[in-house]
Symmetry: C2
Subunit: 235 residues, 2 copies
Amino acid sequence: MRLLLISNSTGPDGGYLDHCADQMVEFIGAGSRVVFVPFAGMDEEAYGTSTVERLNRMGLSASWADRSRDPLVGLVDADAVFVGGGNTFVLLDRLIATGMLDAISERVHGGMTYVGASAGSNVAGPTIKTTNDMPIVEPPTFASFGFIPFQLNPHYIDRDPDSNHQGETREQRLTEYLACNDVPVVALREGAILVVDDGSMTLSGRAGARLYRRGGEVEEIGVGTNLDGLPEYSK
Amino acid sequence: MRLLLISNSTGPDGGYLDHCADQMVEFIGAGSRVVFVPFAGMDEEAYGTSTVERLNRMGLSASWADRSRDPLVGLVDADAVFVGGGNTFVLLDRLIATGMLDAISERVHGGMTYVGASAGSNVAGPTIKTTNDMPIVEPPTFASFGFIPFQLNPHYIDRDPDSNHQGETREQRLTEYLACNDVPVVALREGAILVVDDGSMTLSGRAGARLYRRGGEVEEIGVGTNLDGLPEYSK
């Protein structure tokens, strides 16, 4: 399988896909046909149109999956699919309702490249149980693509020692996830990118990640780390 | 109906229930029998035991609902139920699995006092779609008590202008909720308490709230505001 799983689509300077554009083009291949899936967004047409413009500007040949027509049609001869960020519950609900969950899954298992950012990375795991998003719609299930056998937590944020807010820290939330589920979580800091390329997995990008496992200490994963040794990672 | 819906159970000084203890006792009535529901917590026995101790110290006669025995038994002659904070998905899942959702609902509609904090306040609304919590378990439905005809968002936090984090602000999340659902949201800042007392609704506590409505400006609700005029509020 070929997966590029990006923590966040907007860089610290606010530019859309700027921090990962070069890597996306290198991974997908210049000139390749890519279908953008804007289902996680509230205004899909604006999101689809602007992202297609951005992808074309990178030198890709982009289109977007339009739910008002047949969103499956562009997938047939696509080299890659790019599932964008937004709300993970809305995304999964629409992926299921359109049949895109099964269609994309089949193509990716057949070799098509999958690129996800934020919510689009969340759904690459077995479930959406480690999303940070608000459950504003109720999908029929939390089960998602399951391209990787562990959960992702994008936009991972370390505890702010100066905060007085009484809500849980991300670390507390993921620890509670592990109390209820014996499935590891790779928490991607903003800037981090997980690359799966035909049997090899590497942490890439500009920031590290943390590996949460039931019963174990949280492990830091630095940029450039090869993760093939992760016991839960089966090719 | 009699509802005391508290945004957060831990005050800014870190004391458990300190900021709302006097109001809880006044609302429930000194010496009254109250059943604490610890289902939102990870260690229910520790949570149940320590909260019972805290409630007794307030001058209430407390017990806790133990899922390892029959959690329904204490409810029969209780004057009030107190549903504590933690993870809202875990709470709703356990309320449904034990039959407590229906049992508490029936008693509250019959006049029993309901006190909720954080997750316990979330479930007082029609659904848990405006919780801030991570969906670490998958409940069979998002539908909750529906004691009030609008959503609550506890631990409401205003936008931090100094933050570089690319995740959504709470305001963005609630605006997206409204794009998908035409149900108003009362967002309770930490310290805020919503009081429903036999046909009258008031914002109480130490901090204000914000009212989010589809197609309208967000409205500030100050402490002491009578909310009977809220069109969506039916007695």
